[in-house]
């Protein structure tokens, strides 16, 4: 009882501290030290560190901002963190080695990639029950869902495919070959394209969602860097559909891609081994996780300049930002 009131008070303090205009909370999963860092996006400071299960990687937040969902990969579970208290309040039956997941647009379903078992697990969040498991290629990783929620895409890192899965029948409807080690999927806001990053292939494949064919491949070139060190991973597209941000791993840069011309307009230098990305609500900023330098970088979306880096835990992997 006492513990609870302290936690509540802590939550209240956090809320109070967060009250100045446009302050959101960014939740960063730290793969190596089994924590989530909570960062105030206005003050750009770590306000709390939450102990989690082992090897936390994929992280997302419910649409109402009440719960953070976290893949605790080595514990074979998804942990539910109450954002008001910062406490783990439950778990979801993810299946083995969950790495990445995506929430359905209606917030009811969670689609999880089980990396060790070549499966995508579909979880009903309310009942915390597994709806079904869908066999996919080797080392499933990237998970994306169309804005209308009708099709979900999983990428398999060793099979090198984007598997398009009908969310009603839970069956694979198309397999699209992409370049080596596909990592992440993001649909354009109009749902017409799925963008798939390939870490070892060094490209982003743009797949037409109607024909399910690769219509363009975005390539990257940075003077002074070997092609092998440019490894696209995390990927986010702005709500107006005009710009794509691509995290380039050990190239330590985020590429800004014009979605119309598919040309890279800028490379933004951030921290080392930049991995995943998330926008703040309203998309004034994009936050990057930099695994090797143990920090995150705030990028101003209007100018595409890095604003500030903030030290978090050890090997930051993913990031999710509260919607309010």
């Amino acid at each position: 009882m006492r513990n609870r009131s302290i936690a509540l008070a802590g939550g209240l303090l956090t809320l109070l501290a967060a009250s100045p205009a446009s302050a959101f909370m960014a939740y960063v999963s730290n793969e190596k030290d089994n924590t989530v860092s909570v960062v105030d996006t206005a003050t750009m400071q770590v306000v709390k560190t939450i102990k989690t299960g082992q090897r936390p990687r994929g992280i997302t937040i419910s649409h109402d901002g009440k719960f953070v969902y976290l893949c605790a990969s080595d514990d074979d579970t998804i942990e539910i963190i109450d954002t008001a208290t910062g406490e783990i309040v439950g778990s979801l039956p993810s299946g083995p080695d969950p790495e990445l997941f995506v929430l359905s647009p209606d917030g009811k379903m969670l689609y999880v990639a089980n990396e060790d078992d070549n499966l995508v697990t579909v979880i009903d969040i309310e009942s915390k029950a597994v709806v079904t498991e869908i066999p996919v290629g080797v080392e499933p990783e990237g998970m994306g869902i169309s804005p209308d929620g009708k099709v979900m895409v999983n990428t398999s890192e060793t099979t090198n495919m984007a598997h398009f899965i009908d969310t009603t029948t839970h069956e694979i409807v198309n397999n699209v070959l992409v370049d080596a080690r596909p990592r992440f999927v993001e649909f354009t806001p109009d749902g017409k394209q799925a963008w798939v990053s390939a870490e070892i292939g060094g490209t982003v494949s743009v797949i037409d969602n109607a024909s399910r064919e690769v219509v363009h491949k975005v390539t990257f070139e940075i003077p002074g860097l070997r092609a092998e060190s440019i490894q696209p991973v995390g990927l986010r597209i702005t709500a107006d559909g005009k710009k794509a941000y691509v995290a380039l791993g050990p190239a330590n840069r985020v590429a800004v891609v014009n979605t119309e011309t598919f040309e890279v307009e800028k490379y933004i230098l951030v921290g080392q081994r930049v991995w995943q990305l998330a926008f703040t609500p309203g998309q004034k900023q994009v936050i990057t996780t930099n695994g090797v330098s143990n920090d995150i970088t705030f990028i101003d979306v209007e100018t595409d300049e890095p604003v500030q880096s903030v030290t978090v835990g050890s090997l930051p992997w993913g990031v999710a930002v509260s919607p309010k």
């Binding site: 099979t159 090198n160 292939g201």
Partner: protein, 417 residues
Amino acid sequence: MKSSVPTTLAIFFGLFFASVNVAPAQEAAPKPAPAAKPAVKPAKEAVEIKIGYLRAYEPTLALSVLDMPPRDEGVAGATVAVADNNTTGSFMGQKFILDVTEVKFDADVTAIFDEMVAKGERYVLTDISAPQLLSIADKARDAGILLFNVGNSDDSLREEDCRINVFHIAPTRSMLADGLAQYLVWKQWPRWALITGSHDRDKLFAAALRRAAERFGGQIVGEKEFTDTGTAKQTDSGIVQIQKQMPVFTQDLPDHDVLLVADESEVFGSYLPFRTWVPRPVAGTAGMVPTAWHPASEQWGGAQIQNRFEKASGRRMLSRDMSAWTAARIIGEAATRTQSADARKIEDFIRGDGFSVAAFRGQRVTFRKWNWQLRQPIFLGDGRGVITTSPQEGFLHQVSELDTLGVDQPETKCVLK
């Protein structure tokens, strides 16, 4: 070399049918074909792609029980890769089948190889000696069969004895030695003493170390040979002997930064660390060892393949397992990308300009087209973990930094035939 091309093409054309698992009638096999299987299969059935694995095996010992080679070393890697290929194959209508053939260490492999060919194996992973490999290489070429060397590190197989149809997945001794030398030079530990075992393969690795010293600015200040006189293993009294023997043996070496050891035969090398006359790090076949893979590597998605491998075989993944995994994945990758089981299409794809595979080594791995050696980073590790991977920063190359490891194109003696 050119004159053989038309023949090869004709044979590949024949193979097109074999690859969809129709009995290979065109091949004039000296002995009667095994009982005919139904040649026509239901249209929906997956196309079979057979991968052979030819292995010459004898149990070998190691100085430490922790280093005993597992019974299924190499084969276990191919098994995991074929399972991976089959997961992908389930989306492609392709089914991969692994067929392992094991012979005695010094056996004649020609007859058994004929049997593998008769079974329709178009791709054969080999873990055999250089003479054994050369005894089947030309025959394989004439039958349009691709060999993937996963266990032999002899430089000669990539140089004077290279063959057009032999792809080398295992790194050479010179690649291993160069990977080690780059790190020692980067550390600014350039003066090396070298102790070599008395067996042929020990001498080959010592030669690779001498070559590496010359290439990267190391200096071999002194050398000794350790003759194999049937030394006792580390049993009750052995340990006392060894503890006295090793310091004395290394006492008269000139002053050095690092003690290099070339003892592939596992006669004495592992006894050197912490027993030298002067306190010096040991590297080579003991101490810090260059390898194609490390059982503790978790970088670059390595945790995933290690987990998958451990679940399948109950142990950690070793270099030979990784080479075999990579070989079978190369075949799978080509079959996926060409969306075909046509042996000619698969071969053309593997030989093509853009060919690469992802193999948990931080960058795509590709082939050196002048001798079909797989370019790859070299892991340097001790018994516990990975210390570093080479090429080291600063060793530059105009084509690929991976070509700073081993014999490069301008110096190759290979004429593919």
